[in-house]
């Protein structure tokens, strides 16, 4: 049974995606139930595999349909992919549960289609993470992209245009990647990652390999929205419905960063990426620009969701920059940030979903008075925001801890400065929201805000704003995501020493 887990984790959601779309015709509630149970099973598989990989210390290999590599497709679950799989499945599952009401309200008779796309998208991400085959990765990347375009296109009236934009750039990115894989195949004659690893050292000076590397990585940069090829992301993510945004925003860029790390470390080997090629410095510089640009653009946004999307771009800069520092601390930070940023982004988008559900608006000014109306939601939102700012003991602090340490070790103080700058900007961004939620509408009248959210009868001014919290089935998953931020923070040392440490080749110091 355990042996088949790598297959089950993707087969279950893939097949249930088909069932889900049909079931909507028979029963309104069935698609949601099937989707949630499929994702829960995937989550279970992911957790079991993580436990097995951590306890045995050996990567799991699975040959699809019994065909051995390099001809057949091999799925490899090592420390790195195991932890990312847990992240994908848990984020996807939690978001779906949290968004039940949203989905119901928005897609009434199209719930089957939405849930099917949702599960298909997740299955694609799972496959991308688990596969040990460079071409299979491309196939799954396209599954993710196509279902992603559809999910985003289902958003508001402007979503189709944003999707088209995304589709153009996304296709270019995917094609670049495919082209790179083609060149690799020409030079080596294989698509199996494990086999590629053994061949690269002999071909280090090959121009074909160099071109393959550059074009692969460039394609991935487009897919993860690194500056200056980020243009598609803000519109696409902010026009999507909350349910879709809550899935796509936390996962897509993070999984693409994972693919980047996988390609650079497993396929091209760290020696090639960091030592042989002299591009790390340049890419870190690009990452720094991405961080600064993302942060500053976020400052200019009035729409909360759009602001969050620019924060995502800045965070992509964190991870890419951290990885290309090329030292153990920086790479650990980048991998840790994949986990942490997925959790943070999920929490933020769930919060945004709740705000939209309750207030109907997406603009900053729609947050007025929310501390009084929804104290629990706002408490969670504050926690998530503090994590993005990087305040201990939330997880955002600890990934920053590693990233900054990596920057200091590499002597790259520019990167350190960019991280600090971005933290400060994030503080401004979120406290600007808190101010609106806390001071308005009270700020205008001078005779003090009597009756501010004091519902306990201890005060004789009856609250003008009664507590009107979000529905429990939105609030509970959201608060669970927020608690995860603290748990991840406290256990970040454990995650590093037990998992991430083994994900980085021993050659990297």
């Amino acid at each position: 049974m355990t042996r088949h887990l790598p297959a089950l984790i993707i087969v279950i959601p893939l097949l249930s995606a088909l069932v889900t779309s049909g079931s909507g015709w028979f029963n309104q509630k069935a698609p949601f139930r099937i989707a949630v149970s499929a994702l829960l099973l995937s989550l279970l598989c992911a957790v079991l595999m993580l436990i097995q990989v951590v306890t045995t210390g050996i990567a799991m290999e699975y040959r699809m349909a019994g065909w051995a590599g390099p001809m057949g497709i091999v799925y490899v679950i090592d420390h790195l992919s195991a932890i990312v799989l847990v992240v994908i499945t848990s984020v996807s599952c939690l978001n779906l549960v949290a968004q039940r009401k949203n989905i119901h309200a928005e897609f009434k008779d199209k719930q089957g289609a939405f849930n099917a796309l949702y599960v298909l998208f997740t299955a694609g991400l799972i496959g991308m993470t688990a596969t040990g085959d460079a071409f299979n990765l491309y196939v799954l990347l396209e599954i993710v992209s196509l279902s992603g375009y559809a999910l985003i296109g289902l958003g508001n009236t402007r979503a189709p245009l944003a999707t088209l934009n995304y589709l153009f750039l996304g296709t270019i990115g995917a094609t670049f990647y495919l082209l790179g894989v083609g060149y690799l195949y020409i030079a080596t004659g294989t698509l199996n990652m494990a086999e590629l690893t053994t061949m690269i050292p002999k071909l280090m000076d090959s121009g074909v390999i160099l071109f393959a590397f550059i074009i692969c990585v460039t394609g991935l940069f487009v897919k993860m929205a690194l500056f200056p090829v980020h243009g598609w992301l803000p519109d696409a993510y902010s026009q999507a419905t909350p349910a879709a945004a809550g899935l796509i925003a936390p996962l897509t860029t993070k999984v693409t960063v994972y693919i980047l790390i996988r390609i650079c470390m497993t396929v091209f080997t760290p020696e090639y990426t960091f030592d042989h090629l002299d591009i790390s410095g340049f890419i870190v510089l690009v990452a720094v620009v991405t961080i600064v640009f993302g942060s500053l653009s976020a400052l200019a946004q009035k729409n909360v969701k759009k602001m969050l999307t620019y924060i995502i771009i800045a965070e992509v800069g964190y991870m890419v920059g951290g990885f290309f520092l090329g030292n153990r601390l920086g790479i650990s930070g980048a991998i840790l940030h994949i986990i942490n940023d997925a959790a943070m982004t999920l929490a933020l988008f769930l919060a945004a979903g709740i705000f939209i559900w309750k207030t109907g608006g997406e603009s900053r000014s729609d947050l007025k008075g929310l501390f009084a109306k929804m104290p629990f939601t706002m408490a969670g939102f504050v926690l998530a925001a503090l994590s993005v700012v990087g305040v201990p003991p939330t997880c955002g602090f600890f990934s920053k801890w590693y990233l900054i340490s990596g920057g200091v070790q590499a002597g790259n103080y520019l990167f350190v400065a960019a991280l600090i700058f971005s933290s400060l900007v994030n503080a401004v961004l979120f406290f600007r929201l808190f101010e609106i939620a806390y001071f308005e509408p009270f700020g205008e009248d001078e005779d003090h805000a009597h009756g501010h959210g004091n519902s306990h009868g201890s005060h004789h001014h009856v609250g003008a704003l009664a507590i009107k919290e979000a529905p429990l089935d939105m609030l509970v998953p959201f608060l669970a995501a927020c608690m995860a931020l603290i748990v991840l923070g406290l256990y970040s040392g454990t995650i590093i020493t037990n998992i991430i440490q083994f994900a980085i080749p021993t050659g990297v110091i």
Partner: protein
């Protein structure tokens, strides 16, 4: 030096107790039940702190690791003499301030009192957390927690002024800690491989003189709660808070957390050896002296009583930094002692300012002519508080200033002696006119009826208590003095 290390959960409990009380505070049905939660938490906190005092006075330390985040670094508490000194001040004054809060908040009929008491409790947890931190990571965690817990207290009124002051507050406090202290901490960790506070610091032998200087200054300005110029202007702005907040947080807890953090980092991380060898201490002394003098001069020109007190606090905080940076035995003792002595004096003054506001609604000194006839108890306490802050007998402030002055001579820096003396003169110049105008004015100038009409009892009793303690500390400074001496012994040896 025999050092007994006891592993006990007590420090963690002392931190936690006020957090545990919060659900109680929120769910209470009446004001009185809610406030009894605060008192219960404050009482238990003080008892827990006191229960560790005998051990610490016997040169022991109490240790407790809450969570091992990294293999060699975790969220760890370690109670030593210096931490005990600060925790004792903060936890005992919390009780007094809670009494005062009831009087002040209820008589002014403030809104959102539940929120107020909640965040007060969080702030106290964070304060004790800083006092008992065993390493820089733990300290940073609680430092940030305090910054954030204080924000809703500073902006309690939720009006335009509160909003802009809140911004200023965050700009300096969060900006400082994220912009300077955080990178300094990580760079230190990179060079030394540890963030534990030790007796002699951890930097020696790991960093060059330039790096040490830059890191020291990053810490000094990064812990902006200490209010070293130019990172000071959040404090006057924060005076929009209700007066009990200004009293406990902006005269004791928050600002002293800043001073405590700076002193702790200078002694436990940078190390006195590095400070002396690379002449960093002299740079710090000069910066602190500048703040002492300039803040006192600005205080002279403030007409709003609370703002005058705020600038006075800025100056007095730099005494602590100056004293410790002198690196002489008496200077360090004086600096550490000043944390306690100034706390009792200054909190009295704030209590008085609040009592005046409660009783008359007056904030400005120029409108307080003759107020002594109306509020004799309050204004007498004000006199005692000012004497203590100026550093005159029979008040506790004299003792710490005495040691500070001795310290300058011991260190051989007579220039700083003049700084201290001229600052005392300035302190007198901005405090005594308040008192003088309150009592001695001609009947025509008098702005109040000649009839005693004090603030509510809940307001008056606390300020009498703290004024009393200020006097008592002159005669019996032992608990704090011994702790300070022990703390200096840990740092300087011998």
């Amino acid at each position: 030096m025999p050092m007994e290390t006891v592993f006990s959960v007590k420090p963690f409990l002392a931190v936690l107790v006020s957090l545990i009380a919060i659900p109680g505070i929120i769910s209470s049905r009446s004001q009185n039940i809610r406030e009894s939660w605060t008192f219960a938490a404050a009482g238990i906190k003080l008892v827990l702190v006191l229960s560790m005092l005998p051990l610490v006075l016997n040169k022991g330390v109490v240790e407790y690791t809450v969570f091992q985040v990294f293999p060699n670094l975790g969220i760890t508490f370690r109670v030593d003499a210096f931490g005990m000194l600060f925790a004792l001040v903060a936890s005992s004054l919390w009780i007094v301030t809670s009494i005062y809060s009831i009087g002040y908040m209820r008589s002014l009929d403030e809104h959102s009192q539940t929120r107020y008491f909640c965040f007060f409790a969080v702030a106290l947890s964070a304060t004790i957390g800083v006092a008992f931190s065993a390493n820089l990571l733990t300290m940073y965690l609680f430092y940030e927690m305090l910054s954030l817990a204080t924000y809703p207290l500073v902006t309690h009124h939720q009006d335009k002024e509160a909003r802009s002051s809140g911004r200023k507050y965050l700009f300096y406090i969060l900006g400082g800690s994220i912009g300077f202290a955080l990178p300094a901490m990580l760079i230190t960790y990179h060079f030394t491989g540890t963030l534990d506070f030790t007796g002699h610091g951890v930097m020696a032998g790991h960093v060059t003189s330039g790096t040490a200087l830059v890191l020291s200054l990053m810490f000094l300005f990064g812990f902006a709660k200490v209010g070293i110029m130019p990172m000071h202007s959040w404090l006057p702005a924060a005076m929009v808070a209700p007066t009990p907040v200004s009293a406990l947080l902006h005269a004791v807890a928050v600002v002293k957390v800043g001073a405590f953090s700076v002193v702790r980092v200078f002694t436990g991380i940078v190390g006195t050896g590095v400070l002396a060898d690379y002449n960093i201490s002299l740079v710090v002394c000069v910066i602190a002296s500048f703040t002492v003098i300039v803040a006192s001069m600005i205080a002279l020109s403030q007409d709003e009583l609370k703002r005058r007190l705020a600038f006075s606090t800025i100056g007095q905080l730099s005494y602590i930094v100056l004293g410790v940076a002198l690196l002489s035995k008496s200077g360090m003792t004086g600096g550490m002692l000043h944390i306690a002595m100034h706390a009792f004096g200054k909190i009295t003054l704030f209590f008085c300012a609040g009592a005046i506001f409660c009783a008359t609604g007056i904030k400005y000194i120029s409108k307080m002519k003759g107020i002594g006839r109306r509020m004799p108890i309050t204004m007498t306490a004000f006199l005692i508080g000012s004497l203590s802050v100026v550093g005159l007998p029979p008040c506790g402030g004299f003792i710490s200033k005495w040691y500070l002055v001795l310290g300058t001579i011991e260190a051989g820096h007579i220039a700083f002696l003049f700084v201290l003396l001229s600052s005392s003169f300035l302190n007198a110049a901005y405090f005594f006119p308040v008192f003088y105008n309150a009592f001695f004015c001609s009947p025509e100038e008098m702005l109040f009826e000649d009839k005693v009409n004090e603030a509510p009892l809940w307001c008056v009793v606390p300020l009498v208590i703290t004024a009393g303690i200020s006097v008592v500390l002159f005669f019996y400074p032992q608990p704090f003095l011994n702790l300070a001496k022990l703390a200096v012994q840990n740092v300087l040896g011998g």
